[in-house]
Point group: C2
Chain length 216, copies 2
């Protein structure tokens, strides 16, 4: 009985995700769903990426958080349109939450929309929101065992960004093991190594993302 | 409708949590539910804590993971009884999952039972499993904004262990801000600063925990 209810919720989510996708396509906006554990660097990556791209493409952001507007305030200071969704306790964004706020974002004026999901390496991977691409961040201090322990996130994501590589000298973490196990779960996953603190690797990531979102 | 279903699930969970609690009380075992984001150091903290305490109290562990037995193998090598629960995708342990495995643990022979929850700073905080004490870990690299962004975990936990303090010189993280915001959410929260890598702070934490579980 419990499984049946969950299955119905997921079916309904998929239907609304497809509706969101049509809206994004009609507006000509490329949508990235950004996911990670708490504190892996989603907002810092967004700040760096927006600075790299904002003179090349028109960027907007939807911020998902359980509570508060701190990340949205950080992003807004960069001069791009931002909407905050507070889930009020829920551990992920779903398609319906997104659908309800799309009217507040000038989609027709955007080339690239980032959705920053709630910090959680598990549940957000289960819910499509209508995005073109799922991008996940793993921060190096989280450890090299994470792909095999949280496989769905690595299987669902097209891109793995390994962040905080500036801390590598101070950690017992095997970067090759992260990449090898991520690829064993998802052979086509694209991997970038970056430090949002030093800026290392950001140019390569931003250029690649620019090539994917194909602005007019 | 959806909320009503969730509410029934939580009611059922609470009933089974109380049943687990009675079983633990009857066996005279003190139970700690250990929670954190992925990679904050739950298993490393357990390893250090067991080494500190295993000559003073009889310790057992229930390992919760989505998939795999890696953490259970790590703990078993310390010579304490371990049971692995694989949630098969679920993002937290609930009271029923625990209830089903209690028969495989020699509770009557234990003084202290650790339950290592699934790595997730959100959902595990919503589900009592019958524990005597909820203990959470925040690792310093996750950042000083986490208490106000993930408040329920800090509100539900009796203890906050701040881990990876050896990385402090390399991070832009304000330790006092973490403590202040955690206490603003939960004025009675007990805070320890540790490094599972260097062992710093482990003695103080282990001694305090020993005083709480009151072995015969």
């Amino acid at each position: 009985m419990k499984l049946k209810v969950v299955s119905k919720i997921l079916d309904a989510n998929e239907r609304i995700a497809q509706e969101n996708r049509r809206i994004f396509n009609d507006a000509g906006v490329f949508v990235v769903n950004l996911m990670s554990s708490p504190g892996a660097g989603k907002t810092s990556l967004l700040e760096r990426t927006i600075k790299e791209l904002k003179h090349r493409v028109k960027v907007g952001v939807i911020e998902g958080d359980i509570t508060g507007t701190k990340d949205a305030v950080r992003i807004k200071s960069l001069g791009v349109p931002v909407i905050q969704i507070n889930t009020g306790g829920a551990c992920h964004l779903d398609a319906n939450m997104l659908n309800e706020v799309l009217k507040y974002i000038p989609l027709n004026k955007l080339d690239l929309l980032f959705i920053e999901n709630v910090g959680n390496l598990v549940c957000p991977a289960e819910f499509n929101v209508g995005e073109n691409m799922k991008v996940m961040i793993l921060s190096l201090p989280e450890g090299d065992d994470k792909p095999l322990k949280y496989p769905l996130m690595f299987q669902e994501s097209s891109v793995l960004i390994i962040n905080k590589i500036d801390l590598k000298p101070f950690l017992d973490v095997d970067m090759e093991r992260i990449k090898k196990s991520a690829r064993s779960l998802n052979s086509s996953i694209k991997i970038f190594e970056v430090s949002c603190k030093t800026g290392s690797g950001m140019g390569e990531w931003a250029d690649w993302l620019y090539s994917q979102c194909k602005p007019p």
